[in-house]
Amino acid sequence: MAVIVDFAVQGAQMLLVLLLAPLLTGVVRKVKARLTLRRGASVFQPYRDLLRLMRKEVVLAENASWLFRAAPYLIFASTWVAAALVPTFAGGLVFSWTADLIAIISLLGFGRFFLALAGMDIGTSFGGIGSSREMMIASLAEPAMMLTVFSLALIAGSTQLSTVAAMMSSTEMGLRVSLGMALVALIMVAIAENARIPVDNPATHLELTMVHEAMVLEYSGRHLALIELAASLKLILYVSLIACIFVPWGIGAPGAGPLLYAVGAVAYFGKFMIGAFLLGLFETMVAKMRVFRVPDFLGAALMLGLLGTLLLFVSRSL
């Protein structure tokens, strides 16, 4: 019986992130529209977009290879698996030990690898520029993320997300300098990885400064839908990650009853809305930076991560 409940909770978690992901994108867009005094589309618009795209036929370039057609499924699958492994409303899921934080980062790397390859498949200059810049950004963002994970792992004594979340919500965890650095670094990485302003602009299409949108320029129909969905999943992954590490309150312990799970779900929804609002607010307030300023931005994240880790190597209580 307990096994069935465990599997049901895990399944609920997988479906929850999949179903909520487009909503997050919709809410962020709505917040940005309202802050700039526009009415904006409904928060459910991304769902309609996805459905419409999925029903459309795919127009493939003449020289597209099998990689171009397989990549959307691989990108979607790896991102979904990664997102489903981050605790949202319940910790200690059945499959939480499948991959720890380092493996989750690498799963995102897997998706990025195929996305960048797909960008180069048709042989257009836009695809190339997107892939090249995406990999440059990733080559700084991924180590910064890894160092953030180091700090968290050193504080919690584990790279397992459930353990980290349980540790963070325990009372012995006070305010720490290294945690603050990790939080700032993680947010900077999240902005860069999700192609948000000021690193990239998810709303532009015909501008030479774009990165993510340039890579997926040749995609259409169901392929494009999957890639957009994967992008939303990645965003919700980072929101869940930051929420579960830095505001872990409300996450149901393993084996908690349905009531606690419901509390967890409500708490998660609250964090989700706050995260979406803060992201929209931040994006409205800053301007997009030049591509070659991005390394400075991410270099700062890298240094913060390294500094946090060094502090922890020096003293466990910092």
Binding site: R55, V58, V59, L60, A61, E62, N63, W66, L67, Y73, L74, A77, W80, V81, F95, W97, T98, A99, I102, A103, S106, L107, G109, F110, F113, L117, M120, I122, G123, T124, S125, F126, G128, S131, S132, M135, M136, A138, S139, L140, E142, M146, L147, A153, G157, Q160, T163, L206, L217, E218, G221, R222, A225, L226, P295, L306, T309, L310, F313, V314
Partner: protein, 672 residues
């Protein structure tokens, strides 16, 4: 003849006999098939034997032959460590021979390759089997010289000749350092047997000196920065199956040499050893991948990645030394396992990638990536194999490269407990360098695969490329299978390493992994960290399949082909695509200006002029221009000065002899 080491020696003898056959029948047309077939057979037999030996936890077996120096003979020994590295050598040898059965047919001068190929395999086997310093060094030289002969097999090319000279100089230098290291280990009594050295480890001062010498000697063969300069020249110069052996296997033999001397013969490590090793290893891993990113030559790019991966292996070894110095054998076992597993993994995926590059070379006749493109349509099997190899070397789950890097990260996370302050600062920095090199490797392989296989063909040769023969494909697919198996089920492979780790870590090894539920790997405790390659693989496969099924069933499966969109202005000329250098340009700007002092010089035509604009990039190699050029200039200058001694008169010569004699006597007098 029942003990395993004698059987292995017989196989080595058979391998040497193959070399003789290759010489005798060098004019026959089918000798290539014979030599590669025999090598494949012999190496496969050795692999089977070694697997049994390692799985049955075979006891140490040894034998002596009445060869070599009369008072010690030639001693050979097979223990856990040598079984593991022999397994790498012979597995690599078997697969390379299988590949060469097809690839070797395109060789225009087989008599320059075949004898040395067989002897090279024998030489690598002998290094790992050797149990005294004399046999070790002799086999080491056999390995170096035969590989040198393979590097200059195509001696008409100027670049290959230059590579040959540099390789010869660096190999001599490396052997010289190892010679000194063994001299110091043997002590004044001249005990050259490894048993005698083990029984009487040197004092701390001598041991430190031996460590440095071993690091330089074995590190120059393995490709540690700044001793790597020969590697990216020599490895690509050889035929591709030999490149695979040199990069995938010979560097491992060098690492074996380092482990044998430092972990086995040298006694308990001092804390500062790991400091030196880790610093070099971290720099090596990042420099290797940065060099690789600047390359357009596919084989040279792969050779630079060997430098990077050797750095990653040495990070594991350095951590293991640090932990052992402070008696933390549990953590040390984890770090050592990570290093050894990465050595195994690297030999698998690097061989695979070099085979792929050989297939491309056969199909297009090109090594320059800027001449390729769109090969995925012409060579689908090679493309698939190369893709798996690229993902594995970029440490992506669920492939094998990820497992060993993950273990290395786990070992790094155990190191705050180390008491030394130097290590407290160096280890996190090394971790950052490791993360950086992993991310840059992914960028580099997106570039390599994207430019070679994707996009549109950039030359005639690429348009007319054809898929390669079945033997080559079989070898590549075998390695693809290993990349997947080690990545998905790493537990049994980690357990295979346990006896090796036990013998070097005071009897400690990682916990037994094969029995863990769901075939996860759990280095320390499940609450701390765990990884399950099988489930990651299944989850990705199943969700991708479900997504495809659901969308095709319920939404749409219509597909239409049309011209590329490219923002409405597609240009049919292939030259408008991104090239390898333009792909690397953002990374060159970020890292290159710091490391290579890269300068871009743009020359624009004046307004109204229709001439092309030009972009020149100047890179300065900090190692070659900063270390080697001054050193070689210094040596040449000194040689010029000494040259004057040739033209002395007879009186001056006598004066020189006399003063030398007086000087030596004086020294002797003061010494006494």
């Amino acid at each position: 003849m029942t003990n395993s080491v004698s059987v292995l020696l017989l196989l080595v003898a058979a391998q040497l006999a193959t070399a003789v056959i290759a010489v005798v029948f060098s004019r026959s047309a089918s000798v290539g098939r014979l030599v590669y077939g025999l090598s494949f057979f012999i190496s496969s037999l050795a692999v089977v034997l070694l697997l049994f030996h390692l799985l049955a936890l075979g006891e140490v077996s040894r034998t002596s032959l009445p060869l070599g120096l009369p008072w010690i003979g030639a001693n050979f020994r097979l223990d856990a460590l040598s079984s593991l590295f022999l397994l790498i050598v012979d597995f690599g040898g078997a697969i390379a021979s299988l590949y060469a059965l097809g690839y070797g047919r395109h060789e225009d001068a087989p008599h320059r390759v075949l004898p040395f190929y067989a002897a090279f395999l024998a030489g690598m086997n002998l290094v790992v089997l050797a149990d005294d310093a004399f046999t070790f060094l002799l086999s080491w030289e056999l390995m170096s010289l035969t590989s040198w002969a393979l590097v200059v097999a195509h001696h008409r090319s100027e670049a290959n000749r230059k590579a040959g000279v540099i390789y010869l100089v660096m190999a001599s230098f490396g052997t010289f350092c190892l010679l000194l290291a063994f001299g110091l280990l043997a002590g004044s009594a001249g005990a050259y047997g490894f048993d005698a050295i083990r029984a009487l480890p040197p004092g701390p001062g001598i041991a430190g000196l031996v460590l440095i010498l071993a690091l330089v000697g074995a590190g120059s063969k393995a490709g540690l920065v700044p001793l790597h300069v020969w590697l990216p020249l020599a490895h690509p110069a050889a035929p591709s199956h030999v490149s695979a052996l040199m990069s995938g296997v010979m560097t491992k033999v060098a690492i074996y040499g380092f482990i044998r001397i430092v972990f086995d013969l040298l006694g308990p490590p001092a804390w500062w050893w790991s400091l030196v090793v880790l610093a070099l290893a971290g720099i090596t891993s990042v420099m290797g991948v940065l060099y690789a990113l600047m390359q357009h030559d596919i084989k040279r790019l792969l050779a630079y990645h060997t430098v990077e991966n050797v750095g990653i292996i040495f990070i594991g070894l350095g951590l293991a030394l640090a932990f052992r110095a402070y008696g933390m054998v549990g953590a040390g076992a984890l770090a050592l396992t990570a290093g050894l597993l990465h050595a195994v993994n690297h030999s698998v995926f690097k061989s695979l990638l070099f085979f792929g590059s050989g297939a491309i070379l056969t199909a297009t006749g090109e090594r320059d990536m800027e001449q390729m493109g769109g090969l995925i349509h012409r060579m689908p099997h090679t493309a698939f194999a190369f893709l798996v190899g690229s993902a594995a070397i970029s440490a992506l789950p669920p492939l094998n490269g990820f497992v060993s890097e993950w273990l290395t990260f786990q070992a790094i996370l155990l190191s705050p407990q180390l008491p030394s302050w130097g290590l407290k600062f160096l280890v996190p920095a090394t971790g950052a360098l490791l993360a950086l090199s992993a991310a840059l490797a992914a960028a580099c392989f997106v570039k390599a695969f994207g430019i070679i296989f994707l996009g549109r063909p950039r030359s005639d040769a690429a348009t007319k490329a054809r898929e390669v023969d079945r033997f080559s494909l079989a070898a590549m697919y075998a390695l693809v299978a290993f990349c997947l198996i080690i990545g998905i089920l790493p537990g049994p492979f980690i357990d295979l390493l346990a006896p090796v780790v036990k013998s070097l870590m005071l009897g400690q090894s990682m916990p037994h992994q094969s029995g863990v539920a769901w075939m996860s790997i759990v280095p320390i405790a499940e609450s701390r960290s765990s990884y399950n390659g099988l489930l990651v693989f299944l989850f990705i496969a199943v969700s991708a399949w479900l997504a495809a099924l659901a969308i095709h069933r319920f939404a749409s499966r219509a597909t239409r082909r049309g011209p590329a969109w490219d923002c409405g202005a597609p240009d049919p000329r292939p030259i408008t695509q991104y090239s390898a250098s333009s792909f690397a340009q953002p990374i060159r700007r970020v890292f290159g200006s710091l490391v290579f002092r890269a300068r871009e010089n743009v020359v624009m035509p004046p307004p109204g002029d229709l001439g092309p604009a030009r972009l020149d990039v100047a890179l300065i190699d900090p190692v070659w221009d900063g270390i080697y050029k001054p050193v070689s200039a210094g040596i040449l200058g000194l040689a010029d000065r000494l040259n004057r001694l040739q033209f002395l008169t007879i009186r001056q010569f006598l004066m020189l002899v006399f003063s030398t004699l007086v000087l030596l006597l004086l020294v002797l007098a003061i010494w006494q």
